[in-house]
Amino acid sequence: MQKPLHGSSRSFRLQHKLAHYLFISPFLITFLVFGCYPILQNLRLSLFATNGPNSHVFVGLSNYQFLVEDADFRTAVWNTIVYAFWSVFLQLPLALGLAMLLCQKWIKGRGLLRMAFFSPNLMGQAFVAVLFGILYVPHYGLVNRAVHPILPALVPLDTKWLQDAHLVMPAIVLASLWMYVGFNMIYFLAALQAVDQELYEAARVDGAGTWHQFRAVTIPGIKPVAVFVLVTATIGSFQLYELPYLMLNNSAGPKYAGLTIVMYLYQHGFVTGDLVLASAIGWSLALGILVISLFQLRVIGAYKREAA
């Protein structure tokens, strides 16, 4: 290693030796106190019961037992899973389809189209929720006014999207599609543009049709990005809160049709004030997300071996 020319003084060597500790310490302290400690404390808390601010009694898994037996919690879990299922299985194929259309070089105005599809994502979930809360209003809202002329029998002008327990979930899924399809499209677009065009050429020479090209070239080419998008979209769906809560006028909707796990956590932990139960809900959700992410990775991994 070369010796510094000007920096032979003691203080220069000292700052060279210690600089990185100084650089990393503000982050490290905050990260350990506000990032790592709550994770461990969460596990500890979830095994206790509380009767006041300073009385913690060890109760083992009975908080979790309460959750399993609570009908509202089961509703919340079911709603969240239904939402995650639809938002992933509608959102991602739509996003991929759009990206595949949009990555054709001859499309005019690609930049503007990309911007248009992405634009809803500039609004946060909270603001999208306020907007859609009004878009779904019977008679007045845009959704009924736009869809009613096309499907007069199926969607009457006074369709109560947010007051009818059966329609709440489709309404939430539709709003999330509007918001996130363009966002995920950006990832797919970047991945598609990185696929080697010569592979398509080679596949065509070998006589592969469009579908075969898609399966043999496109899917393997975008797989790393697709896995990332799938896993993050699922994790995001499981944390659903703002969209239903604000769309349904600060509530869980009729018959709790819009109750999600995080909403249940908020209501028990911060409205009722049972932080211990909230910790148990937090761990249940973390565990659920972990299991589902691993499951997804495994399924995709199995597909890989089959294709190879």
Binding site: G7, P120, Q239
Partner: protein, 289 residues
């Protein structure tokens, strides 16, 4: 599918997406009676909704100011801490570098929402509930930001930093004069992402803030829904005002944010220009001395 058909389909889909936004803007310009008669714009435009917003709520007086203050301070602190820590992780060998990186990756998988209860308890004990510090301190580190900066700083050649050291740069000068200027594209993207994160966050501020004067825009809107849920024009005006600053910011950093949103594609080109830039910096430094 024919080319024309594809083009038309894409434009139609884009139009559907944009319709809601046009409707949102239109709804803010209509008086109470016109709201029901016209689906989009009415023949007479009015600013009454915005006047109502000013008179009946604190949106302009408090909430907008609060949101701007909170977002800008958080972005500046996050940017400073994340880039410094990313620099340290990327360019210094020290004990604990790898374990720390792995620990960060692991916590990255655990969404922050799950640990809200113990974090609230902790902040309560520290007396930070119902103050901006309770939002600000836990939000001041961004593990995502550190990774973003770490990855980008890894592409800066070590020889450059070594050359700067020989020229007598202190480690902080290297960070300020070489690492930060070279990371400009990432800084733009990071500021946008971090700002949007703070601006749009609803759940944690809802938990931490109780004082009406401290409410940020999303919280204020959620209160407005409860009170003025029939005044569509006013609610939409509030939503538009809340969204507009982020849109403006996005248009300002659009160039760097698109580049930042797909790292890897332009990496080769970018790192070439980085090297050139660094040489220039060093040359100028040499001339100055």
């Amino acid at each position: 599918m024919g080319r024309t058909a594809t083009q038309v389909l894409l434009i139609a889909l884009a139009a559907i997406v944009l319709t809601s936004l046009v409707w949102l803007i239109a709804a803010t310009t209509k008086g109470k009676n016109d709201q029901f008669h016209y689906t989009f714009f009415a023949p007479t435009l009015t600013g009454q909704n915005y006047v109502d917003l000013y008179n009946k709520t604190d949106l302009f007086q408090h909430n907008l100011v609060n949101s701007i203050f909170l977002a800008s301070t958080t972005v500046v602190v996050q940017l400073f801490f994340s880039s410094l820590a990313g620099f340290a992780l990327a360019k210094y060998e020290f004990k604990g570098n790898r374990p720390l990186t792995i620990l960060m990756l692991a916590t990255f998988m655990i969404p922050g929402r799950l640990t809200m209860a113990p974090l609230f308890e902790l902040l309560h004990r520290m007396g930070l509930v119902d103050s901006y510090l309770g939002l600000f301190i836990p939000g001041s580190v961004s593990v995502f930001g550190i990774f973003l900066f770490r990855q980008s700083i890894l592409t800066i050649p070590d020889e450059l930093l070594q050359a700067a050291r020989i020229d007598g740069c202190s480690e902080f000068q290297i960070y300020r004069d070489i690492v930060m200027p070279v990371s400009r594209p990432i800084i733009g993207a990071f500021c946008l992402i971090s700002c949007m994160g703070t601006w749009n966050s609803f759940l944690w501020p809802q938990i931490i803030l109780h004082n009406r004067n401290l409410f940020t825009l999303p919280i204020a809107l959620s209160q407005m829904i409860g009170v003025y849920n029939q005044e569509y024009g006013m609610l939409m005006a509030g939503t538009l005002i809340s969204v507009l600053p982020v849109v403006i910011l996005f248009l300002c950093c659009k160039k760097s944010s698109w580049r930042g949103s797909r790292p890897g594609l332009s990496k080769v080109r970018q790192s070439n220009s980085e090297v050139k830039y660094c040489r220039q910096v060093l040359l100028q430094r040499g001339k100055a001395q």
